[in-house]
């Protein structure tokens, strides 16, 4: 599509054994754009997200983020571990189950990327990490271990950890699905703030109201194909495809975001 797109996916294919989970996916995300990926489980949306930072290596097609482009399929060599690592350092990812490092304090979790990957001096990394923790409202939890935090707090630390790498793109893989309902709001608020600051984001989510509010584009996937895509409000309020309509009928589509329940 346009020259200015931050992420460009062309003809992406991926199979696990005989199970074809992604079938010829094309996707563009503009710089500063927020794209929500929705769809039933098994639709391939999480796999697509994981192809964006190559945690899953596609079987065919191409992935471009910023100026880095990888092609997959016959005749193309798989990128080596150093190239992969450098590429992943420019994208941040937030996982459904947080995946915080349990043997490190909150502060150490956030410092880990800058220190180990970017070779930043400890003092600078600590300053950066404290700033990121403050940004997600957890400055005073710096010296605690993840086990002592609530789910919502853990996920905010995970967001701070990803942001400490100063990524161009943030990927969210069902970031609120493992949270108790009353803790969802505090995480969505952080994500919404990030979007309003102009971060390019791809969000796999079941929070339809949030997608409607925050995403500018929405993609509905089923069985490894993009069934429908367009401006988020338009697709949610007025879906064109029967499959989209059927899926969306399970959700409340509008309404305010859940309120943030904690002050911390």
């Amino acid at each position: 599509m346009s020259e200015t797109s931050k992420i460009q996916i062309r003809g992406l294919r991926k199979s696990f054994g005989s199970n074809e989970v992604l079938k010829n996916i094309n996707l563009d995300v503009a710089k500063g754009g927020v794209v929500a990926l929705i769809g039933p489980s098994g639709s391939g949306k999480s796999t697509l997200l994981r192809c964006l930072n190559l945690l899953v290596v596609p079987d065919g097609g191409s992935v471009r983020v910023g100026d880095t482009r990888f092609a997959f399929g016959e005749g193309s060599k798989l990128p080596d571990v150093k190239t992969l690592a450098r590429f992943r350092a420019t994208t941040g990812m937030v996982f459904q189950h947080f995946n915080l490092f349990p043997h490190m304090t909150t502060l150490q979790n956030v410092m880990e990327g800058p220190v180990t990957v970017r070779r930043m001096a400890k003092a600078d990394a600590e300053k950066l990490a404290r700033a990121q923790l403050a940004k997600v409202g957890l400055a005073e939890k710096a010296d605690q271990y993840p086990a002592t935090l609530s789910g919502g707090q853990k996920q905010r630390v995970a967001i701070a950890r990803a942001l400490a790498m100063e990524p161009d793109v943030m990927l969210f893989d069902e970031a609120t699905s493992a949270l108790d309902p009353e803790l969802v709001g505090e995480v969505l608020n952080v994500m919404q703030r990030l979007a309003s600051e102009g971060m390019t984001m791809v969000i796999v989510t079941h929070e339809i109201a949030f997608a409607r509010e925050v995403a500018d584009r929405l993609i509905f996937m089923r069985d490894g194909v993009v069934v429908e895509e367009g401006p988020a409000r338009q697709v949610i309020d007025n879906p064109q495809e029967a499959a989209t309509r059927a899926f969306l009928s399970h959700f409340h589509r509008t309404g305010a975001l859940p309120p943030a329940t904690t002050a911390s």
Partner: protein
């Protein structure tokens, strides 16, 4: 009724101490060397390359599935004949015990590494770490905590297994006590004292490890 007389052992004290020194020194060597073999075995069995995995697996099963006493004798008597490798009893038994222990350490280390949730390596990779960095910074520090009780247990078994080197006439505690027992005609007292000596060393060690485990569990 048997008349116990432990006093007679006092005249053999230097023999016992000597043997104890050999036993402890031997254990230190075979535990350290065994851990080195264990690391190779564990990372070999987790390698991306099939050939490396097969070699590691062959090593682990060969030493895990044959009796240590047979290995000791084999290293001392069979290797010189088959491969022309002459070894002193000490070298042969140190090598056999290290490889034997290493095969068990391999499985403990491998099990510890694969017990760490895949999400941990994914989180490391997503930050831009190489697989090596993820292993060193994220996986191993967590895996080692889980390995320590099993590694310690295996090392305790290794400490006791050193008693088998007496069959190759390595002068460890058991070998020296055989000497003492034959000389004094007091085998009951001698071997009771030997059992107490092993326990007296191991029980404090197990207490230290238990304390260490509690301290390491912080943050879990």
């Amino acid at each position: 009724m048997y008349q116990w007389d432990f006093g007679i052992l006092w005249s053999y004290r230097w023999l016992f101490l000597n043997g104890l020194g050999v036993t402890v020194g031997f254990t230190v060597v075979i535990v350290l060397l065994g851990l080195v073999f264990g690391l190779f075995g564990a990372f070999g069995s987790l390698s991306r390359f099939r050939a490396v995995r097969l070699v590691a697996l062959a090593f682990i099963e060969a030493f895990r599935c044959t009796p240590i006493l047979v290995q000791l004798i084999w290293f001392y008597y069979a290797l010189p004949i088959l491969a022309g490798v002459e070894m002193t009893p000490i070298t042969a038994s140190a090598l056999a015990l290290s490889l034997y222990g290493g095969s068990f350490y391999s499985e403990i280390i491998r099990g510890g590494i694969i017990s760490i949730d895949r999400g941990q390596s994914e989180a490391g990779a997503a930050l831009g770490m190489t697989p090596g960095q993820t292993m060193r910074r994220i996986v191993l520090p967590q895996a080692i905590k889980r390995m320590i009780p099993a590694l310690m247990n295996q090392s305790i078994i290794q400490f006791k297994n050193t008693s088998l080197v007496s069959v190759l006439a390595v002068p460890d505690l058991v070998y020296q006590s055989q000497v003492a027992a034959h000389d004094s005609y007091r085998p009951l007292e001698t071997y009771t004292a030997v059992a107490v000596a092993y326990a007296a060393i191991l029980i404090p060690l197990t207490i230290i490890v238990r304390r260490g485990e509690k301290r390491l569990a912080v943050g879990e």
